[in-house]
């Protein structure tokens, strides 16, 4: 086994929550508000319910093949189609790492206009590469310290924005019917599809038999952490204005005024992005390195960390020409890509593994006769 470290079920759940929540705040929020407007919260609830398909499939798959990562499962148990699927999964992890790195750069660029994008990319990659090099335990423990701090800060920020909010902006409920809500729900479902990266981490949790409970909690808590941001900007600016914003939560936080001194809470939003994206990038970067090392049957993934760092850095610049292109990617490709990789494929793999097992048992019985 390449990875020697072990993380607790809580650490694994917390990693999933951080990774999902930050993406929710940065991009999924914009997608959901654009599609579903004031009914974004309904889309979030339905989307989470649909997202459970992928979560349950990935967890069951991991429990079915204990101690094996998604890439190992595909390489060892699904013959050549599995190998192709494993390579596609590695590409998917690579694409999502590029997206996260680029989003980090773009988010900072929206505040520090004159600093080159490359500077932000280099900084986040240096930190992530170090975290990935140190291993899963380090990432898990670091996140266990940071996530509660972020949650407390988010609660404080949500409380301080209350005076500027008018929740009647969330009405009418289902004013434009189910179609906009459906489109938003699919974006949320796609977002939950990202949890397939946990297929690279779940084999290293201490109590795999309790994974399902932990992962269902992940879905519930992520939904709770998403409901605030999906309703907040709509309540503050109205659905039409909120849908036009690049980073709605950031705009919301800028309106906080707590007395005469505490009125620049932007730094908290930026801290949230930085820490959240650091963990998200580290998890996907780790999955990419570990998966590649397992596919090539190497003894350790560490020699691949730096080469992949360079590739991710250069690739994130190539990922999109500008933010417009990233947005069209998010609106056109993000949801279908994640639904395919995070829900449809895991379900298919789970069904196939059951079928293969049944056929093998039948063959064994026939041979015994």
């Amino acid at each position: 086994m390449i990875e020697k470290g072990r993380i607790s079920n809580i650490q694994s759940a917390m990693l999933a929550i951080t990774s999902l929540t930050i993406m929710g705040h940065l991009i999924v929020l914009t997608l959901v508000i654009s599609h579903s407007k004031e009914n974004g919260w309904i889309a979030a609830i339905i989307g989470t319910a649909l997202g459970l398909i992928g979560i349950v499939a990935v967890t069951r798959l991991s429990q079915r093949f204990p101690g094996l990562t998604l890439i190992e499962i595909l390489f060892r148990h699904f013959s050549w189609p599995g190998k192709i699927a494993a390579i596609v999964y590695l590409l998917y992890f690579f694409i999502l790492t590029l997206l996260a790195v680029r989003l980090f750069g773009e988010a900072y660029k929206s505040i520090l206009y004159e600093t080159p994008l490359t500077a932000f990319i280099v900084i986040i990659l240096l930190v992530s590469a170090y975290a990935v090099y140190l291993g899963l335990e380090t990432i898990g423990r670091m996140n266990q310290i940071m996530l509660p701090i972020l949650v407390v800060m988010a609660i404080v920020v949500a409380y301080l924005t209350m005076p500027n909010k008018d929740y009647s902006n969330l009405l009418p409920i289902l004013g434009e019917g189910w179609m906009p809500v459906g489109a938003g729900a699919l974006s949320v479902m796609g977002w939950f599809g990202e949890i397939v990266i946990m297929g690279m981490l779940l084999p290293y949790v201490q109590k795999p038999e309790r994974l399902m409970k932990a992962n269902l909690w992940v879905a519930a808590l992520t939904l709770i952490f998403f409901l605030g941001p999906v309703t907040g900007p709509v309540a503050m600016f109205g659905a039409t204005e909120a849908a036009k914003m690049t980073f709605p939560t950031f705009s919301e936080v800028r309106y906080i005024e707590a007395g005469e001194v505490l009125n620049r809470f932007d730094a908290i939003a930026v801290l949230f992005w930085t820490v959240g994206l650091l963990f998200r990038i580290s998890i996907f970067y780790y999955g990419l390195c570990l998966g590649t090392a397992q596919a090539l049957k190497l003894k350790t993934y560490r020699p691949l960390v730096l080469p992949f760092g360079w590739l991710i850095g250069a690739g994130s610049l190539w990922f999109a020409a500008d933010y417009e292109e990233i947005q069209s990617f998010l609106f056109g490709v993000y949801a279908p890509l994640n639904i395919t990789m995070g829900a449809l494929l895991p379900v298919l793999l789970l069904l196939l593994s059951r079928l293969i097992q049944k056929l093998r048992k039948r063959k064994e019985v026939a041979e015994e006769r």
Binding site: I95, W310, A314, L317
Partner: protein
């Protein structure tokens, strides 16, 4: 200037991996060396393309072309 940036990029990329590559050679782990070389080569190509600002279809564009319902 672009040439200087490109040379610096290549030098830094190779230097950062040099120790681990040397270790892989010493331990005769040629598969590791090949993987490092391939990944780094791809990174260098992409890096130089980015430095020279060559207009090639970005990954976002390529993926959008793959989605059937996109124009």
């Amino acid at each position: 200037m672009n040439l200087l940036y490109s040379l610096a990029f290549v030098a830094l990329a190779v230097a950062s991996v040099a120790f681990q590559a040397a270790d892989a050679i010493r331990r005769k782990q040629f598969k590791v060396l090949a993987a490092q070389g391939a990944i780094l080569a791809l990174a260098i190509v992409l890096g130089i393309l980015a430095i020279y600002n060559f207009r090639i279809p970005s990954m976002a564009e390529l993926l959008q072309a793959l989605v059937p319902w996109q124009a």
